[in-house]
Symmetry: C2
Subunit: 131 residues, 2 copies
């Protein structure tokens, strides 16, 4: 059966992306694979086998067009408010904490944060569907 | 530590997307959560806890702009050639099988296929980094 193993995004600058995903979400570089015209960087942590694949196309300087179709990568954390405070302290700019209810019950407690290229990451409290 | 739990994409038609991800990758609907203006559909299978989150914005008919930033969701399969043949037989249109080598060794054996909204999915042979 097909197994979801990674999500690929194109980024402009390797170092700033690696720093962001490392500091913000504890991902580290599991592999870095260099080709003539591009480099692939695989980032992951011990929480899951799923990886974030960063593609750096060499010589590219123009910002990528994010469109309006792709939404976000979501991560879950134990304490979303603590995590948001930690990110603020590090100088990042997380959005406001949002509580989404459904039928009078908490569905999701989360905030969004953008990576250096503008991709949105949803940071969710570990709760309900989001474990 | 932050755990990657899902990837969200906006899709126009729930039924055709669910059918595609079900037939093509054996994902089934783990949850369907309806709100006033949008519906969230979570798809997964037994291979991993990671989920694909489909967002259907009610009343939207205009195709989403895919941009050129977001790349793809990748899945691994036991036998990529067999999988490709199966998809062809089902009437889908997988791309050609590509062998990517590095330092004389196989790095990845894969093909791409597009979902009904045009999102690319990379289907990789379970090998090397792609397990």
């Amino acid at each position: 059966m097909a197994k979801m193993i990674h999500s690929m995004i194109r980024v402009l600058e390797e170092a700033r992306s690696v720093e962001f995903y490392s500091k913000a979400f504890g991902l580290s570089v599991a592999d870095r694979v260099d080709f003539d015209t591009f480099t692939l960087i695989y980032m992951s942590n011990a929480e899951t086998g799923f990886e974030l694949e960063l593609t750096v196309n060499k010589g590219r300087t123009e910002a990528y067009d994010l469109g309006n179709a792709y939404g976000h990568l979501a991560v879950s954390v134990e304490e979303v408010a603590v995590e948001r405070a930690r990110l603020l302290k590090l100088g990042f700019k997380p959005g406001e904490l949002v509580e989404l209810n459904r039928d009078g019950k908490l569905f999701g407690l989360f905030f969004f944060i953008s990576d250096p290229d503008g991709y949105k990451i949803e940071v969710l409290q570990r709760h309900g569907r989001f474990l």
